[in-house]
Symmetry: C2
Subunit: 401 residues, 2 copies
């Protein structure tokens, strides 16, 4: 294997990166090329967890009519004035279908509509059944045990909020209100090109690992991942993956400086290589570009580097496309460093860490430890480029898995 | 509609609860009847998120052999001593298949096995290609750029931990290690009996809402929910739902004191009614029992009461069966009450709350507001039975959705 003759400047194989983009520049590239997708109408049953394009409005007051808030007897409160265990007042039992006659009582279950004329609910603790009659043994105030129309939701009130996922309780409420459809942001369609990784014993195993990781993470971020159509060459694979309806192509592997790291070259041949090499460890061989107008990110094949590059760049791309919060989805927590975190000046280092008794312990340095470090980690710390790490005692933000 | 004649004591219809179990007693019932299920072997691809019955062990050292940690040339470090840009030392380029000859250099990509005889990696920044040769322009130390066998994982090391879900990174590592299967706790099989709710305009809509809520929550808690076989009566529905392989039956609706609240009576007829009525608001008509040895929980039909009873009792049952942490899965956070939370003495009240500027605001009282309260809430506060609520300024634990 020898280096290609007279390679173009963007071909870094066997030479190394002449320069690398800052993480900020790479993030700006993502933000510039990932506008939120349009909306689509879906059945309410499929809307839970989807980002609302518009908050549905309650079509009517809920409850629509005055109704019993508990099981009991609908009564006219005036008929119970003076009732007590020593002065039981008989009420005539009647059906709940028609209006309540003066001196009447109608058995209702919780949620049933109050008959016209009734203005309160007599609970079973305040009533005693007596054959065809029922005796009030306590007085009830007007409105007691009754839910009025619109008590839960007023007609026109928004349920949920545009720009954030519809929650389970909101979806259930909308179902109860009879809303059948919702307008949600389209799901980003992500095509994967498994270019082949080399970070493990066999390329096949690593490719599987990267694919498995990225598929699960795209799903977490609300996207739909599918492996792109097969093709004879990587250039062709990128071209085919970028066919409609792809919103984003993620190619995994072959991004580095080794002899067969042909993904950036293939991207330049198939379309445009916008950026290759980021001042990031691990994940520094990430590339970004376009094929036929579709954005393409090339993620490193080494599984830990693939994971970090996905989290920082690809995940943000997917979340932006899907109208979600673009920031890292991992809960952030401040904690104290108990063992020095070592980092390279000029590079953003993403360091896998454990939380031991609330304190932060690095798992090796950013570039080493592989997937095993991420598997043992409780989270990660992003060390900014100007720093050479954090000494014990420093307070840092840990992003927890 | 009239009350049944000479009803048994457990029939609370049209009478109300003679007494109610404390929430502690109901939780103890759950804990007594929900032992963790046995284990099953599943393909690794299906194990992610499942609770490990045993932590898989790494079958071999990883990496299995010494390998390049980056792209570059495998060399004998001794051959580079004294090399610099002013004193380039020529090395003879050779293949990486055989052992490295003295004075040789073999091109490797990151992750490739180091040839015998090589003990360091010369990066592209320390080498210059020169036709059939390569010139070292910097010295490298023994071991530089080389990962040793077992650096990531030692043979026999556990990946993941028994009793907690296998994480994505762990699953990916196991895939990389060639592990194909994992032993996980069986998934609880939950049969739903939609007994019909009455809390909304139409019973059908409410039943749908309850079923939708509970199916989503069972899935969240790691269970497999399916609607039980159809049946002519509620008693028969419970008997059929309890047929193998059900681990738990959840019946939704008809648990209260109204005339058609026949679920507890049906449970007593089909098997055994262990407990009916809990000192809890909402959700106080929850019941627990068995049919043919299979535990059965009856959850109230009103959607908010159904939700609360699921969260407190049914969810715990499902999580225990599945070997998960039985405690509430909602993140807990301490916060200050800004508007009084009203609660009934003698009852555990579950109050839906909003967090406004970090402070806790109740959304009505526990029993009112319906599903709309849960849809607007950021979480809930559990008010212990002895308290009549919390005054402004009190610090409480909020469980966030």
């Amino acid at each position: 294997v020898t280096a290609p003759r007279d390679p173009p400047r963007h071909d870094v194989r066997l030479r190394g990166f002449p320069d690398r983009a800052s993480v900020e520049r790479a993030l700006a590239w993502v933000d510039r090329h990932a506008p939120p997708l349009g909306s689509e109408e879906v059945a309410l049953a499929d809307a839970c967890g989807r980002v609302l394009a518009a908050a549905p409005a309650a079509p009517a007051d809920h409850p629509p009519v005055a109704r019993a808030a508990a099981d009991g007897y609908a009564v006219r409160s005036a008929d119970t004035v003076g009732a007590s265990a020593y002065n039981p007042l008989p009420l005539r039992l009647q059906g709940a279908d028609g209006p309540l006659a003066p001196g009447g009582a109608a058995l209702l279950w919780a949620g049933a509509a109050l008959p016209a004329g009734a203005d309160a609910l007599l609970g079973f603790d305040a009533a005693e059944a007596a054959g065809e009659a029922v005796e009030a043994i306590a007085a009830v105030a007007e409105g007691a045990g009754v839910e009025r129309p619109g008590d839960e939701v007023r007609a026109g009130a928004a349920v949920g909020a545009a720009g954030r996922p519809l929650r389970l309780h909101e979806a259930a409420l909308l179902a109860a209100l009879g809303v059948a459809r919702a307008s949600v942001v389209a799901r980003p369609r992500v095509r994967l090109v498994v270019a082949g990784a080399k970070g493990l014993a066999t390329a096949g195993a690593a490719a599987d690992v990267d694919g498995q990781l990225v598929r699960a993470l795209v799903a977490r971020d609300g996207g739909l991942a599918e492996v792109g159509p097969p093709a004879a060459t990587l250039r062709e694979a990128l071209l085919r993956a970028a066919e409609r309806p792809a919103d984003l192509v993620l190619a995994l592997g072959r991004t580095g400086t080794g002899p067969d790291d042909e993904a950036p070259v293939a991207l330049a041949a198939a379309g445009e290589l916008g950026l290759h090499g980021v001042a990031l460890r691990p994940g520094g061989s990430t590339a970004m570009g376009h094929v036929a107008g579709v954005p393409v990110l090339l993620l490193p094949g080494d599984p830990l580097a693939c994971l970090v590059a996905y989290e920082l760049f690809a995940g943000r791309f997917v979340r932006r496309l899907g109208g979600r919060d673009p920031e890292l989805p991992h809960p952030a927590r401040e904690a104290e460093v108990s063992r020095r975190i070592v980092s390279a000046v000029g590079c953003v280092d993403v360091c896998q860490v454990r939380l031991v008794g609330g304190a932060v312990e690095p798992l090796g340095v950013a570039e080493f430890g592989g997937l095993a470090a991420a598997a043992r980690a409780d989270g990660f710390v992003v060390v900014p480029a100007p720093l050479e790490g954090y000494p014990p005692g420093a307070r840092v933000i840990v992003r927890t898995y």
